[in-house]
């Protein structure tokens, strides 16, 4: 019984890993097609903690504002206080397995944090960084 359970757990873990490789791989190819150059984890780390000023409210906003500076931790929505599940795949295997979901949240969160859409380069950098966590 435990053998079957272990095998099942392993299978599910593998499928999550496979799904993530698919989703991230697909998006990276798209971003390259849109003009992105070599993706950089280092650039992403800087981007992730850079302060952005929201002119409308005067607030300083960073990705870490909601996601914290440790992607394995649970984050918190800056306005509502609602818990945000960890982004790190090592802490949360469901992350980054759905292309539509990834793009939707890039859209919303870049607009909130930076006041604009992220460039394909920025998005690709972030993806290669997150998959190392």
């Amino acid at each position: 019984m435990t053998l079957i359970r272990t095998l099942l757990a392993l299978l599910l873990a593998c499928s999550a890993v496979a799904a993530r490789a698919d989703a991230i791989g697909t998006l990276l190819k798209e971003y390259e097609a849109q003009g992105a150059a070599r993706f950089s984890v280092q650039d992403a780390e800087t981007f992730w903690t850079t302060a952005n000023l929201d002119t409308k409210t005067g607030e300083t906003r960073r990705c870490t504002t909601c996601h914290t500076d440790d992607l394995r931790r649970t984050g918190k929505h800056a306005t509502t206080g609602k818990a945000i599940e960890p982004l790190a795949p090592s802490a949360n295997p469901k992350r980054f397995t759905d292309v539509e979901h990834i793009e939707k949240w890039f859209g919303r969160n870049c607009k909130w944090t930076l006041g604009r859409e992220c460039t394909p380069q920025e998005k690709g950098n972030v993806l290669v960084m997150i998959r190392t966590k």
Binding site: T80, G81, K82, G107
Partner: protein
């Protein structure tokens, strides 16, 4: 004839008792998984019975500027969720909570926040009312689940909190309430 009377009596009993059962005191849980997933991603997924239909229509018609953020959905999702919210809104819901909150609204008032409904703000005491003294405490009051452990079931009677100024300062982080 006698048998028919008995059947009629039994049926009436069933209908009447289920009518009584169908009149709970509170709003009950969300029944739309997409709503919980999409809208509950950023904030507590307020049950439809907590606001009148006109409020839901207003909110859903302006997701581009949803309390300062963009919450746009693809059209099919937005339409489906609007339908869900309107169908389950306070006027059509059959529970005590909805009746009370509707009764507290000035005629024609269209709140866009659950926390902006007088019944909700009033129960939480003036100092938590978003409009009280012009201090926006929405950050705390909006997160029902912070103090109501059964909020996701639509049961707001159970609550765990200690009402101190300090607690709410802690819950809000470093927001300075000023008193």
């Amino acid at each position: 004839m006698k048998k028919l009377d008995r059947v009629a009596a039994a049926l009436s009993f069933v209908v009447l008792s289920s009518a009584a059962l169908a009149d709970p005191r509170d709003v009950g849980p969300n029944t739309n998984a997409t709503y919980v997933k999409e809208c509950g991603a950023c904030h507590f997924p307020y049950q439809p019975a907590l606001m009148p239909a006109r409020s839901w229509r207003k909110v859903m018609s302006n997701l581009k500027d949803h309390f300062g953020e963009t919450a746009e959905l693809k059209v099919s999702d937005r339409d489906a969720l609007t339908a869900y919210l309107v169908a389950g809104a306070a006027e059509t819901a059959d529970n005590q909570r909805s009746r009370e909150l509707l009764a507290s609204l000035p005629p024609g008032d269209t709140p866009i926040r659950v926390t902006g409904i007088l019944y909700v703000g009033g129960i939480h005491g003036g100092f938590l009312d978003p409009k009280f003294k012009g201090i926006p405490n929405v950050k705390t009051l909006a997160n029902c689940a912070a103090c109501h452990p059964k909020a996701d079931e639509g049961r707001y009677a159970p609550r765990v909190y200690v009402v101190t100024d300090e607690l709410f300062r802690v819950l809000k982080g470093d927001y300075n309430v000023g008193f």
